[in-house]
Amino acid sequence: MVKKVSRRQFLKGAGAIGVGIVGGPLLQGLTRGPSGAWGAAKPIKFGGIYSLSGVVAAWGKAAQQGAMMAAMEINQTGGILKRPVEVRFEDDACNPEIGVRKTRRLVLEWGADFLHGFNHSGVALAAVPTLPELKRMLLVPCAAATQVTTEAFNKYVFRPHANCYQSGAAGAVAAAKLPYKKWTVIGPDYSYGWDSWGGFIGNLVKRKPDVEVMNTQAWPKFGAGDFTSYILKVIEAKPDAVYSSLWGGDFITFLKQAKRYGFFEKVGTCVTEAGLALDAFYALATGGGKESEIPEGLWTAAHGYWFEHPKTERNKKWVDKFVSMYGEYPHIVAHDAYGIMYTYKKAIEKAKSIETDAVIEVMETMEFETPGYKRKFRKEDHSAFTGVPYGRTVKAPELTGIAMNLVDISDAEIIEPIEDVLERRTKKTPAPWMQYVIKG
């Protein structure tokens, strides 16, 4: 029975002390495993590696929520190949070295049959090369740097959601309709920051050749607590519009600081792929959730999923169920981590085996579904054909019970041409959009 959580209840949860412990009991129930005859069957083990501590722990928690919810449902409905599933999560602390260690540990000590994970692209890129030696598949629901499925590609890695090229291209579809010509960027100085901007601006230049890519760009370090000097520098350069690949706490800090300098009035618009994912909407709510610090008119993909979109029955039902379980709306990473468990289920059942190679073979060309989207893997690079939603922020408390919402969302489905991906993989040349990343 799905119980709808009222706005009041939801906000109580968002502000109260103690929300950190939500989910703990659920996890225990899962790892204990079900009782009865089928419970005696050897469980299939799914290991997840996410940033459960550190600067983007909110994103790791979202992955845990989604994957746990799916695992519970799967166990309630007979498991996979009549075997129960068991899940375990490890914390990479947003650190590449720890990420690699935890990946190995999940396989070598715990005996994970399948892996999913990574919020931070830097951590994902460090862990992907260990997969061939571990002989385990990895589905990546969050980290979006294109390199994961191009330069660093091996047959074990799959990305069931949009990478930077795809979401950049989708952003370019929206931005090409805007009247702005001079574009610059403020983004974190690592793979995701560069690829996200590059994917966006490279596609925007293709769609709108009169776009000018400015030389003055801002590349602060990931997790910096102070962006004010960069903000002033960007304002001083007088761009028409700004792209921001900052995300998580970084984007929230940036937004708070930028507002003080009238940044959003001085630039025509700001486009951010992941900066305004659901975590930011929650964090920037004020006045008991009736208001928000987020200005209207910013463009975002919410990193690939916004819970009010698409408006299908399936998505609505899923969101309601999620809210009744966790007392909050699902974050993109919860949505995609949930999808991952069912993607594995479908592939394993089709392969009738949990042998890595057999499952890979099936998954490579498989269609799969998340609560919001129908997607299909591309055989050559294991990236997914998928729609990427881009929408604009608007004050709309009556719509969702949070002060700010995305409207006019449209999904663009654009994927990097496979020839380009394969050429880059063989020649190990840097992505063509790196020419737009100017530090100096």
Binding site: S53, A58, D226, T228, S229
Partner: protein
């Protein structure tokens, strides 16, 4: 670059310098008197920021947070000193570092249990929001408020240390604990008080930083590194040193971003290394108060 832009960067540097100074002065005060390098000092900064979120969430009023959150940190500091630090006075520095590192992890976990992993924010009172005109520049009012509080804290510490009996006691026991004890100064009590003041300053700095950024786990790690660098640059135990270190680092970060952004990540450490090569005890090392 116009003068007004230059001035805006300068003010920016000053705002971050003042947040740095408030936290670093607490750290250096504690070291100067107790000879404890408190790695958990940044944790109190984080606790101050989280309480700012919670109190503004409950009461919708930043001023409650400004008054209460630093006091909560001071109380936490007093408890820390009484229970955990007392037994390690006089032990070699590695023991103290291990202990305060442990406290840092402990506090981070407590914060995580209470507030979860979500990002939090706090807003300044309306009277401090918006901008004001300074020399033809519109500059955020709240940043000016931070600068003023920083200056007031500096004056307060200066008066406390040089003009009051309590300050004399602090200076006496920091130069010679045994003699101070012999002269009838209640050194254990004094230590607790100093640690409480240091913790208060860390909390205050957290409150002031809260409206300027996302409040999240790991804030402690970032700030303690900056605070340590400042204290080392200025000279361990020296409050004027902490002030100079903060001002230098604030401006270096601000203008460095403008002129040599490629090396932004290294500013603090390169600067610290240069100072240590030239003056191993820091700019104003060995002077307390």
């Amino acid at each position: 670059m116009t003068f007004s832009t230059f001035f805006a960067f300068f003010l920016n540097g000053l705002t971050s310098a003042m947040t740095f100074f408030i936290i670093a002065s607490g750290l250096t005060l504690i070291y100067g008197v107790l000879r404890i390098l408190n790695l958990a000092h940044g944790s109190l900064f984080m606790v101050g920021a989280f309480f700012t979120f919670q109190l503004t969430y409950w009461f919708g009023n930043f001023w409650y947070a400004l008054i209460l959150a630093p006091l909560i940190c001071a109380v936490a500091g007093v408890i820390m000193e009484r229970i955990f630090l007392r037994p390690v006075y006089g032990l070699p520095i590695p023991f103290q570092l291990l202990l305060t590192f442990g406290l840092m992890l402990l506090i981070a976990d407590i914060v995580r249990i209470f507030w979860g992993v979500a990002f939090r924010t706090a807003t300044e009172p309306r009277i401090l929001s918006g901008t004001m005109n300074i020399l033809g520049n519109s500059y955020p009012r709240y940043n000016v408020f931070v600068i003023i509080v920083g200056i007031l804290v500096g004056i307060f510490i200066w008066i406390l240390l040089t003009k009051t009996r309590f300050g004399k006691m602090i200076r006496a026991s920091s130069s010679d604990r045994e003699v101070a004890n012999g002269l009838g100064i209640n050194v254990p009590w004094l230590y607790t008080a100093v640690f409480g003041i240091g913790a208060y300053l860390a909390g205050l700095s957290g409150v002031l930083a809260a409206p300027l950024r996302s409040i999240m786990l790991e804030m402690d790690v970032h700030i303690i590194i900056e605070a340590f660098a400042i204290v080392v640059i200025g000279g361990l135990g020296s409050i004027p040193g902490a002030l100079i270190g903060s001002l230098l680092l604030g401006q270096l970060n601000s203008f460095g971003t403008l002129y040599i952004p490629k090396f932004e990540m290294a500013f603090t450490y390169v600067f610290m290394a240069i100072i240590l090569l030239i003056r191993p005890k820091g700019l104003l090392g060995e002077e307390v108060g």
